[in-house]
């Protein structure tokens, strides 16, 4: 059995005191313990943003990619080794600024991975410009007169793209978020979890207090197998904001539909293949 100490590195987080990243970090570690995984049992794929620093604070197989690209890298890992669980840790800029295209496509492919999006509505690492999830009118350094666009709706996008597990968590509710993440781990397919997260330095609207006043958990009356009901809930943003699992169904994964990915992952298969001569003869 692994313990929380197994994930410890020599570095302490350099996030601002009170940052929502701490909550997500804690919830992820709790979920890993709950799942029974040690640092060598999975691979974490990070984007670029404050969240990406987690590569230094969580010991595991890991790769920190480029801004917007963790989803693409994660799929390459899964296809090379479909026995290795993959966790994508990304920001709202990664996922809805530069990487939206990748999100849409991993969702419709249903490649198995758990994706945790740090959604704080601002770009923290570059010191507080607007993020695609910022609410209309939100004032930042890059939008001094307020954001003119409508906010991206992460849950609705994931649903529309065909994700088979769609959830929303809150960084201020560590036990609740850990539970969602474990459900993501256990989901046989692409699991998308948007995590509402205060940025204590650059977002003075969506604070812990704001979230505590506005969020409410979806209860058992919500039918998680109904995409229509999930959409209905996804469109709620005020006066109340629902959290929890919006949608969950099972469909064959991309890996399961690829015959080359059988019992033995590609990484363990012999190279080169045995049919090279036959392939050459075909050209005669």
């Amino acid at each position: 059995m692994s313990t929380i100490a197994d994930f410890k590195t020599a570095f302490m987080p350099n996030w601002c005191p009170g940052c929502g990243d701490f909550g997500i970090w804690g919830a992820l570690k709790n979920a890993l313990l709950e799942k029974g995984w040690g640092p060598a049992d999975f691979c974490t794929v990070y984007g670029i943003g404050c969240h990406g620093h987690m590569v230094n604070f969580l010991k595991s197989y890991a790769i920190e990619t480029l801004h917007g690209r963790p989803i693409a890298v994660a799929q390459g890992i899964r296809l090379a080794n479909h026995k290795l669980p993959v966790i994508i840790v990304a920001g709202d800029g990664d996922t809805f600024g530069e990487g939206t295209n990748h999100l849409v496509h991993i969702a419709r492919r249903n490649v198995q991975a758990t994706m945790i999006v740090h959604d704080n509505q601002v770009y923290g690492l570059t010191t507080g410009q607007t993020a695609p999830t910022a609410q209309k009118g939100f004032k930042t350094k890059s939008t001094p007169a307020g954001v003119l666009e409508e906010a991206i709706n992460p849950v609705a996008i994931a649903l529309a793209a065909g994700a088979t597990f769609v959830a929303r968590g809150f960084a201020g509710d560590i036990p609740g978020l850990a539970k969602l993440i474990v459900q993501g781990f256990n989901h046989p397919g692409f699991a998308f979890i948007d995590v509402l997260q205060p940025c204590v330095t650059f977002n003075h609207v969506n604070t812990y207090q704001w979230y505590r006043e506005h969020i409410y958990p979806l209860d058992s009356s919500h039918d998680v197998t109904s995409r229509a009901k999930a959409f209905e809930k996804a469109l709620e943003w005020g006066p109340k904001v629902p959290t929890g699992v919006f949608y969950k169904i099972e469909k064959p994964t991309y890996e399961a539909q690829t015959p080359q990915l059988n019992e033995v992952p590609l990484v363990e298969q012999d190279l080169p293949p045995k049919n090279l001569q036959t392939l050459m003869e075909k050209f005669v």
């Binding site: 590195t9 020599a10 570095f11 640092p39 060598a40 691979c43 794929v45 670029i48 620093h53 590569v55 230094n56 010991k59 595991s60 197989y61 890991a62 790769i63 920190e64 990619t65 480029l66 917007g68 690209r69 693409a72 890298v73 994660a74 799929q75 390459g76 890992i77 899964r78 296809l79 090379a80 080794n81 026995k83 290795l84 295209n101 990748h102 849409v104 496509h105 690829t258 015959p259 080359q260 990915l261 992952p265 590609l266 990484v267 298969q269 190279l271 080169p272 293949p273 049919n275 090279l276 001569q277 392939l279 050459m280 003869e281 050209f283 005669v284």
Partner: protein
């Protein structure tokens, strides 16, 4: 003896298919053949042309004159009448359109054949007139039709015996028509002896790149469709399942290279393929691979730019682009094959270099190589022993000895032992931020310096294994042509023709196919000994001249350039050389 056969007609007439049937037929009969195609970026309509050069001796390129023109429409005559050589044969459907000897600037022999009528009489439709024309062509050069029948059987066998029979009947009808109405045929004929018929492959360099990748044990391939790498994409997609690797068509080229990096990180040999526009999207990924020290092979098929350019034509104008692609300083290895055999060898080599030096490695080709077909002895590829060198990839036993594995350990050669995820220990991280030996992010000055030096040390190491380039021809020729990649074929053809004419002393050729690392010492030596150097490249700026100057200090001033989207033709190279004589 050799003949240039041009087949022309509207897109959708089966022009490309006809050319392929012809090259396969001649190759099966023991002749050497090469085809090149010209087509617009359209699906239907527009003019399609395929040129088949066939010979009873070794050939290295097609040429721009036509000895036998198969005109499936009148436009083919109008567009190509000036290319036909003296005494050329013109095969056309005399019942569909008129052709007169006076249409041509040189005397020609007209062979009107009622292609459509014969097609209909033998149970085909008008779209099958090209099959009739193929039979007629073989009769004109007196080539045994049984080779066409065997090719048709292989090509259409899957569609059933009836389709095979019908095609053979149509070809036979064209063959018989010529034998009956023009018994003298064409003045050039091929006789085939049984001894000549050793097994030959007919393939494009795209397919050779694919075979090279398979031979090297590639397990993951991602490519977004784009001319001219689609041939490679179709080939690899078609054999992926039975061969045991994954081809993934991603949402864009950005995803392609990032997926390939992910697959490489997870421990498999991975590859992407694209052209200039697509590679523009892969540039940040190339830099990522450089920083993560992740091997990845990038097949780059050049086509004329800027922007969308001439999508279906050829060029060599992206040399500087690949040599400099991506932010920051890191080793970018670049190989540039010049023919089928080099495409196979250097692709396999690229996988070894990428893994040994843990850095992105390019195979730079172009539309001419990717889409032209060449006949090559089966033995040339089949007897190769491809060695697979995975460099410092560590075993599971070694890796799991460590709780945490130092992925970026500083070593004498700059190359760190490389672990992979998914084992039972030795966790590590690959990090796109500057990092310490453990992969943890750093911003410390002295360590940053060490890490940059570590990555660049690999360049010094790989430079030690550059082979000497080949100097083709006599040592002290009047002119030394210097070229790279696809220029090889046309230049060797020039030298073959000159030698045949007793002018073998006029030209030799320095072929560069290792671009980075570059064989600086050899090139400096060879060029210092040369009487007169001429750089030859399919681009406007003579990009290799700059690179040779950087690498050797030698500044070449005389140059031959071509940048109209067409490959070099031997006759125009000879003309250009003679200007310097």
């Amino acid at each position: 003896m050799d003949i240039n056969i041009k087949v022309g007609g509207e897109a959708g007439f089966g022009i490309m298919a006809s050319g392929l049937l012809l090259i396969r037929t001649f190759s099966r009969g023991g002749l050497r053949a090469i085809t090149t195609n010209d087509y617009p970026s359209l699906i239907r309509g527009g003019h399609n042309v395929i040129l088949v050069r066939v010979a009873d001796h070794e050939i290295f390129a097609t040429d721009n004159h036509v000895d036998l023109l198969i005109a499936l429409n009148r436009e083919t005559v109008d567009l190509h009448k000036d290319e036909v050589s003296k005494g050329a044969a013109i095969l056309f459907d005399g019942e569909s359109f008129q052709v007169q000897p006076g249409d041509f600037t040189k005397p020609v022999n007209l062979f009107p054949v009622p292609l459509m009528k014969l097609a209909k009489e033998h149970g085909g439709d008008v779209l099958m007139r090209n099959t009739v024309a193929l039979g007629a062509t073989l009769a004109l050069v007196d080539f045994d039709i049984k080779y066409l029948e065997s090719v048709v059987k292989d090509q259409f066998g899957r569609k059933g015996d009836e389709v095979v029979q019908k095609n053979n009947q149509l070809a036979q009808s064209g063959f018989d028509y010529i034998k009956k109405n023009f018994p003298q045929g064409f003045n050039k004929k091929f006789t085939v002896s049984a001894a000549q018929t050793k097994k030959q492959m007919v393939l494009t360099c795209s397919e050779a790149l694919g075979l090279g990748a398979i031979a090297a044990g590639m397990k993951f391939f991602a490519a977004y469709p784009m001319t001219p790498i689609n041939g490679l994409l179709y080939y690899l997609a078609g054999v992926a399942e039975k061969t045991g690797f994954v081809y993934k068509q991603p949402e864009d080229e950005i995803a392609a290279i990032n997926m390939a990096i992910g697959a490489s990180f997870a421990g498999v040999r991975s590859m992407v393929a694209t052209s200039g526009g697509g590679f523009s999207l892969m540039v940040e990924g190339t830099s990522l691979a450089g920083m993560l020290e992740q091997p990845v092979v990038i097949i780059f098929g050049q086509r004329p730019g800027p922007a969308t350019g001439l999508p279906t034509w050829t060029t060599q104008s992206d040399l500087h682009f690949v040599l400099n692609a991506g932010q920051g300083e890191f080793p970018r290895l670049v190989l540039a094959p010049g023919d089928v055999e080099e495409a196979f060898d250097l692709t396999a080599e690229a996988f070894n270099l990428a893994e040994k030096y843990q850095t992105p490695t390019f195979v730079l080709v172009d539309k001419y190589l990717c889409e032209s077909y060449f006949s090559v002895d089966l033995a040339t590829l089949a007897e190769k022993k491809v060695s697979i060198e995975r460099g410092k990839l560590v075993s599971e036993a070694e890796q799991i000895k460590e709780v945490e594995f130092p992925r970026y350990q500083l070593t004498d050669d700059g190359i760190s032992p490389r672990p992979i995820p998914g084992r039972k220990g030795g966790v590590f991280r690959a990090n796109s931020d500057e990092h310490d030996k453990w992969g943890y992010s750093i911003e410390d000055g002295p360590l940053t310096k060490k890490m940059i030096e570590k990555r660049m040390k690999k360049m010094a190491m790989v430079e030690q294994e550059v082979p000497a380039p080949t100097l083709f021809g006599v040592k002290d020729a009047q002119h030394t042509l210097v070229g790279w990649g696809s220029t090889k074929g046309p230049v060797l053809e020039v030298m073959r023709q000159l030698t045949e004419q007793g002018q073998g002393e006029l030209v030799n050729y320095l072929h560069l196919n290792w671009i980075n690392p570059f064989p600086s010492i050899h090139v400096r030596e060879l060029l210092s000994d040369a009487k007169h150097i001429i750089d030859i490249e399919g681009n406007h700026n003579s990009q290799m001249i700059d690179w040779i100057q950087v690498k050797t200090g030698i500044k070449i001033t005389d140059r031959i350039n071509k940048y109209d989207g067409r490959p070099f033709f031997p006759s125009e190279i000879i003309e250009a050389i003679k200007k310097y004589s």
